[in-house]
């Protein structure tokens, strides 16, 4: 018998019923709820007269519609507060643990679940947000689902799924100094496309991944959805176990020992076969910035904006032309030197402690350029407090950044935080889609160090300053 991949083991471990044609009913170990969509799912559950089957396997937090303003107690408008109230009411009614707006463990759902030890290796995790793939960094099978499926999970603790194919992306070499997992992910998407991972569960392997912190692995798995894949995975190793040990919801005592035994058997067997393999030279990646409206529209900081005329595929060409028009950029020009209005350091992609540390190292003792509005929105209350204990908040504030309250904030424009029409924002989030940060907003995706350096320069930089390397 040939070996199995990490994905195969995870899938097989959760099959409640095989429905044929590659479709299976799978057991859900963790359902992560947030404040956008949960309220309507609770409502549907009730309307259908159903019961939330296993409340102890559901965990909720408020992140999407909460304000990130200092002193906030909820959303910035009635409609936002209605979503939060609906989440609160559903959680109370069914006994689901909720990290409410003012709770010490509140934060972005994909930051909170790993840092509290709620998601663990070997688990099947779903969430009504596509960046659930983040949890795959721990060796969990995790993906985003829609509202109908939320109700399905609440009522049955299962999800109906189609077995994806398996892809392994092996990163050779190590990241150069100043190059971050964000750059690696963007460069990868740039090469294989925003649909390059579609239909696959993607496992990341190779030296660069082994050397990566858990925060970095989360950034990588987070961006799998921008590669078109629903599932990103990293085989659990000692770094994973070390990260989890002692976290509030991690197994303890005898459970910890048993869990460790089980987790050590999860990584892909040496003789396992993938449906598709990609080799990618991590050592060659340089700091990236996106120029268009798809994460695949990425280039190195020092490069020129591509010319749609050189693109062979007509619909791709049309999309590139539309993107340049929306972004107010001309083909063939260097992206560096483009004036910016805003900088956002935050989101479930890049708002963890190590992200903030790298950005703070760039800004310490310097000043944000006049006219640029720069924000740091920590991913969670725990991140925020840890950062404050290290004085990062002071470094940011003294440089002229705003230090705000945890939440999705400017990643999504659903909480009052928006980039004004026509304004240009360098953002550490994950989507540069048309209107993502607000109608008419122009988004350039980048790493925390690049975003911080752009804030100081007031424009897109051509190379990272020494402090970031």
């Amino acid at each position: 018998m040939t070996g199995r991949t990490l994905f195969d083991k995870l899938w097989d471990d959760h099959v409640v019923a095989d429905l044929g044609d590659g479709v299976a009913l799978l057991h859900v170990d963790r359902h992560l709820l947030h404040d956008l969509g949960s309220s309507s799912a609770f409502h549907d559950l009730e309307r259908r007269g159903l019961v939330l089957r296993n409340p102890e396997l559901h965990f909720a937090t408020a992140d999407h519609v909460v304000s990130s303003a200092t002193g906030r107690t909820g959303g910035v408008a009635d409609w936002a507060d209605r979503h939060i109230a609906g989440l609160r009411e559903g959680c109370r009614r069914w006994g689901v643990r909720l990290a409410d707006v003012t709770d010490a463990t509140q934060g972005i759902v994909h930051v909170v679940a790993p840092e509290l030890g709620i998601s663990q290796p070997g688990m099947l995790v779903v969430c009504g947000d596509s960046h659930a793939s983040t949890n795959g960094a721990l060796g969990a099978l995790a993906w985003g689902i829609g509202t109908s499926e939320l109700v399905h999970v609440m009522a049955t603790q299962t999800v109906l799924a189609r077995r994806p194919q398996r892809m392994r992306i092996t990163f050779d070499g190590r990241l150069s100094r100043g190059v971050e997992p964000k750059d690696l992910a963007l460069a990868l998407i740039g090469r294989i496309g925003a649909a390059g991972g579609r239909g696959y569960a993607v496992e990341y392997a190779g030296e660069a991944v082994r050397a990566m912190s858990m925060d970095g692995r989360m950034t990588l798995c987070n961006l799998t959805i921008e590669l078109g894949g629903r599932i990103g995975l990293v085989g659990p190793d000692d770094a994973t176990f070390g990260y989890l040990e002692g976290r509030p919801f991690a197994p303890r005592g005898a459970h910890w020992e048993r869990a460790l035994d089980a987790w050590r058997a999860l990584p892909t067997d040496a003789d396992a076969v993938f449906d598709h393999e990609v080799a990618f030279d991590a050592g060659a990646v340089t700091p990236q910035i996106t120029w268009g409206t798809s994460p695949a529209h990425t280039i190195g900081l020092g490069e020129r904006i591509p010319d749609p005329a050189a693109c062979a595929d007509p619909s791709e060409r049309q999309a590139m032309t539309a993107a340049l028009d929306y972004m107010g950029l001309a083909p063939g020009r260097p992206v560096a030197g483009t004036r910016i209005d805003r900088v956002f350091i935050g989101s479930c992609t890049n708002s963890r402690l190590s992200d903030l540390e790298r950005a703070a190292a760039v800004v310490r003792g310097r000043r944000v350029a006049p006219g640029v509005v720069a924000w740091v929105v920590p991913g969670s209350q725990l991140v925020k407090r840890a950062a404050e204990a290290r004085g990062l908040d002071r470094a940011f504030r003294e440089a002229g950044f705003e230090w705000r309250e945890p939440g999705c904030s400017l990643c999504v424009g659903a909480n009052g935080d928006m980039v004004a029409p026509g304004e240009r924002c360098v953002s550490t989030s994950n989507r540069n889609f048309v209107g993502r940060q607000g109608p008419g907003a122009r988004t350039h995706l980048a790493s925390p160090a690049v975003a911080a350096a752009c804030a100081l320069a007031g424009e897109i930089i051509g190379a990272l300053p020494e402090t970031a390397a």
């Binding site: 296993n54 509202t147 989507r431």
Partner: protein, 208 residues
């Protein structure tokens, strides 16, 4: 509880041959957060459909005749990529569209379609591109019949295109059956799985 059945869809087909139309483009987060499901259709494709002053952009396909009344959308590659928001499907369905033909789809969007009685059809990219340009060039012939029973699309110009749909999903659309109803009937299997699993992986169920 059930979804709206889909057997045969006949009507105007509109070409939207743009690659990577994402869920933010299909429905803005603020709209879906603020409005009830029934009102989302008005805001489908908002950044493409309306100009900055709120007026309709006459150049956008769904603002033109006969495409305003489209029931079928012929779209570009990776259609519906991005977020898990099911409201993207609700918004498109709110326009009266029941079938979307594209070379490929965002995966979660694809799954969400079936939950809401919308049929996503995958055809080869050159075929989709050819149909889209013909619709654009000959709006008078922009009428199609999509037959899920036979898994065939018939165009006004006499072409028949076969497509494939996974059998379970096809059956559910044809019958208007609901995934949840089917799973609820499997409660004994779920209980048995959990009983076994609690022995095998007790830590998953709590730190007792």
């Amino acid at each position: 509880m059930s979804i709206e059945k889909l057997v045969v869809v006949e009507g105007v087909a509109a070409p939207l041959a743009l690659a990577n139309v994402d869920t933010d483009m299909i429905i803005r987060i603020e709209r879906l957060a603020k409005l009830p499901r029934a009102d989302l259709g008005r805001y489908a494709f908002e950044p493409l459909r309306y100009r900055a002053d709120g007026s309709e952009d006459p150049a956008f396909v769904l603002n033109r005749q006969p495409f305003r009344d489209a029931r079928i959308l012929v779209a570009g590659a990776n259609f519906g990529c991005g977020s898990s928001r099911e409201m993207a499907v609700w918004a498109i369905a709110g326009l009266g569209i029941r079938v979307i033909v594209a070379p490929s789809f965002g995966e979660i969007f694809f799954a969400n379609c079936f939950q809401n009685g919308v049929l996503p059809v995958v055809l080869p990219a050159p075929t989709v591109a050819r149909i889209a340009s013909r619709l654009e060039a000959e709006p008078a012939a922009a009428h199609m019949t999509v037959d899920l029973e036979r898994c065939e699309i018939c165009t006004d110009w006499g072409e028949t295109l076969a497509f494939a749909v996974e059998s379970l999903r096809r059956r559910m659309l044809l019958e208007g059956a609901d995934e949840l109803e089917l799973t609820l009937a499997r409660e004994p299997e779920i209980a048995a799985f959990q009983a076994r699993d609690r022995e095998r992986r007790p830590w998953v169920y709590g730190n007792g």
